[in-house]
Amino acid sequence: MDAVIETTNLTKRYGRTTALKDCSLSVRRGEVMGFLGPNGAGKSTMINVLLGFARPTSGVATIFGENSTRRAARVHRRLAAVPSDVTLWPNLTGGETLDLFANLHGAVDSAYRDLLTHRFELDPTMKVRAYSKGNRQKVLLIGALMTRADLLILDEPTTGLDPLMEQAFRSSIAEAANRGQTVFLSSHIMSEVEALCDRVAILRSGELIEVGALHELHHLGGRHLDVRFNGIVPDLSRLPGVANFTVQANRARFEVRGALHPILNALAASDVITLDVREPSLEEVFLEHYGERS
């Protein structure tokens, strides 16, 4: 079976609030799947259901073909997770916490643990109480990565990390992907998802509204054009597909959805100095496409 995570019509209600609604999602073996959504969209609820911490109201979630709720302990043998909003034991040192995680998981790659401790610049002799937020997050990250588990479920894993450590995290995930590990990454940081993920699922108000490869999602947003003219800027705002047309001195900026040839024809008739066309970033797609709808 190729799917590592499979959810079918997964619904989770808390009283009258629907946190997840009919979510059907499949994460394939070896892929890095980004899981995006605004605050309160239901990302952590989905992860809690996958980890067996919350029971679905209806629908099924399976991991490695096993029911994630009923066979949670069995499923957990092959996965490692970084949950969000957890509190480590303040009296343990970082190293003791990692020892505990290693014992609870059963088997870890000790050499890799040392490498990760060095890479993330963590002092394992320090008590958790004395750690900064970022350092506590590093303990959780190392704890998950050192297991070399077949599946990594990461909920907002880079919270509190500085840019250098974010870079360390990205290289660790890249290593995991190269080793064939599957990664399910819930994140707010679009650049992170864009840099790491093969596919992206977007959740809004508990509903999965988009699942696809990054290049597919890029087409959901308009291309960004930045044109510098020698002389007067022609009015291109009425051309088909043009939006957000702004002019500043001899420079026009706008977005184009759909075919480019009407624009190129119009530009050919003008005295163009420079032309810059770029695909929208994931963040722009997210803000434009999903911000409008919400």
């Binding site: 980890l51 911490f53 509190t87 040192t93 020892d99 002799t125 008590k127 004395a130």
Partner: protein, 535 residues
């Protein structure tokens, strides 16, 4: 959708004031209850002048008793007996309450980051500390008013003036140790550390007072301890002026020191630097059960030491205390406890009841800790590994049960050691059996509260403590008064045999142990079928 709460204006000061009010009122209710029931108990246990005189003769010159509980004055009066019976218990309770309240509101709030949040507004740490300490007066006033009101309701044997005097004296340590906790909160950068440091000053204070009362010519030591000042207030000949001046001066001094320290330190830091690093201690980390034991161990040992020490001390005084009980009084207590036997055995039965209540309090506190672990998502950190939910909970609850049974046996042994030193003639077997029997209502209560945890974790703490207070309250009232039998059967302690005054009722003990076990099993099943609930 969740129902919107009505809009209320909330400020940091009002939150602190509310917390102080609650804390003070609860302490007041307990102190008032103890004063009131002590007065009632005296009137019913020692109804005649001769009985009261023999009590006074037995206690007033007993050095061991004076060292433990403070000097006894005018034991032939209701007021004198009430003060003697309540003084040390209430003074220590008020002191502990005071230090826990101030460390919670000052250092606990800082630990949780709430103080830093408040300081982003237009206030400084020094000013905020001053505001919090000003709110301590609300706690003290609430305690005093509630204690006086509750004692008045419970007792008709004491005049209002005597009640007000008594509650004022008994609550004085609350004020001093609010200050002690406040200073500790400036010195030590964790709530637990600050509370421990303040508790050390209380222990030292008690020790100094005991030495001063040991008849070694060191009576002047009483001036160096807050508990000594309180003790001097109870001595009718010494006059009130000097001890009250000492209490007021100490409170002002501690308040001033707190303010000065808070103005010269960083938020989140203490004046004492802590070790932030250490070499790894890997003991009891190999499995979820071992780690549960590691988490439970220190707390269980502390409770074990407290319950053993208290049992030893009560064992030590059981013979002399039992001798003061006349036949009529004895019949009253034994009727309430459904017991029979000598005065010594009855006093040991009462001690045994206290042990059962303490063991139950330990059990409830451990379930409250379990709930706290789930609320803070620490449980997630264990269950995200290949650890079965039911199995993990069963292991943790089994450890609590073992600690309770061990604590009961230890208490029985300590009680015997104390009683044997006084040649009380009670066998070790009888007292260890009584101690083990004490564990059974605690197990039943743990089973019940564990079931609540399994079904509705958010209600664990309130219902757990509520059930304990209900059960203990009912059975304690029967010792001094009467309660309807139907109501009494709802108390787990009512089903405890009054051992060693009577033989342990194995059927009753077995039933409670089985109920406890079933509750634990049920909680494991329900826990595995519900969501983990944070916050």
């Amino acid at each position: 959708m969740k129902k919107a709460l009505p809009h209320r204006r909330v400020s940091g000061t009002s939150l602190i004031a509310r917390s102080c009010l609650r804390s003070g009122a609860l302490l007041g209710a307990i102190v008032g209850g103890l004063v009131g029931t002590s007065a009632r108990a005296y009137a019913s246990l020692y109804p005649t002048t001769s009985a009261r005189r023999s009590l006074a003769l037995a206690y007033e010159h007993n050095t061991a008793m004076v060292m433990l509980f403070g000097p006894a004055h005018h034991l032939d009066t209701v007021a004198g007996f009430t003060m003697f019976k309540a003084q040390m218990t209430c003074a220590i309770l008020a002191a502990i309450w005071g230090l826990l309240t101030s460390t919670r509101l000052l250092r606990g709030s800082e630990d949780a980051g709430r103080t830093a949040l408040l300081l982003t507004g237009s206030t400084s740490l020094k000013r905020w500390t001053g505001t919090t300490m000003a709110m301590f007066t609300v706690a003290a006033l609430a305690a005093w008013v509630t204690a006086s009101a509750v004692a008045t309701v419970f007792s008709h044997e004491l005049s209002l003036q005597r009640i007000v005097e008594a509650t004022t004296i008994l609550l004085a340590p609350f004020v001093v140790f609010l200050g002690s906790g406040a200073v500790a909160s400036q010195l030590v950068a964790s709530r637990r550390g600050a509370a421990s440091a303040a508790a050390c000053t209380l222990a030292l204070s008690y020790l100094l007072r005991a030495v001063a009362d040991a008849g070694l010519g060191l009576h002047w030591l009483l001036w160096f301890t807050p508990l000594g000042w309180v003790e001097q207030l109870e001595q009718p000949d010494s006059g009130w002026g000097a001890p009250w001046i000492a209490i007021a001066a100490a409170s002002v001094f501690l308040g001033t020191i707190t303010l000065l320290l808070s103005g010269s330190r960083d938020v989140g830091a203490g004046r004492f630097t802590r070790r932030t690093t250490r070499s790894p201690r890997r003991l009891l980390m190999r499995s979820p059960l071992a780690f549960s034991l590691r988490s439970l161990g220190a707390s269980a040992m502390l409770w074990g030491v407290i319950v053993s020490l208290a049992s030893f001390l009560y064992g030590l005084v059981a013979k002399s205390a039992g001798a003061t009980l006349r036949a009529g009084s004895l019949a009253h207590i034994t009727g309430g406890l459904d017991a029979s036997g000598s005065g010594t055995a009855v006093v040991l039965s009462l001690t045994s009841l206290m042990v059962a209540i303490t063991l139950s309090a330990f059990g409830v506190s451990q379930l409250a800790a379990l709930r706290s672990d789930e609320a803070m998502a620490r449980v997630d950190l264990v269950l995200m590994f290949p650890v079965g939910r039911s199995r993990w909970l069963l292991g943790r609850l089994a450890l609590i049960a073992v600690a309770i049974i061990g604590g009961g046996a230890l208490a029985g042994l300590a009680m015997w050691a104390g009683a044997a030193l006084e040649h009380s003639g009670v066998s070790v077997g009888a007292l260890v059996a009584a101690g083990c029997d004490d564990a059974t209502p605690a197990l039943a209560l743990v089973g019940l509260v564990a079931t609540i945890y399994g079904v509705s974790p958010r209600h664990t703490v309130a219902l757990g403590w509520g059930l304990l207070i209900w059960s203990a309250g009912l059975v304690l009232v029967t010792v001094v008064g009467s309660v309807s039998t139907t109501l009494l059967t709802t108390s787990v302690f009512h089903h405890l045999s009054a051992a060693p005054a009577v033989r342990v009722n194995m059927a009753s003990a077995g039933t409670m142990a089985v109920l406890g076990g079933l509750g634990i099993l049920l909680s494991a099943v329900t826990f595995s079928r519900r969501d983990l609930i944070h916050h």
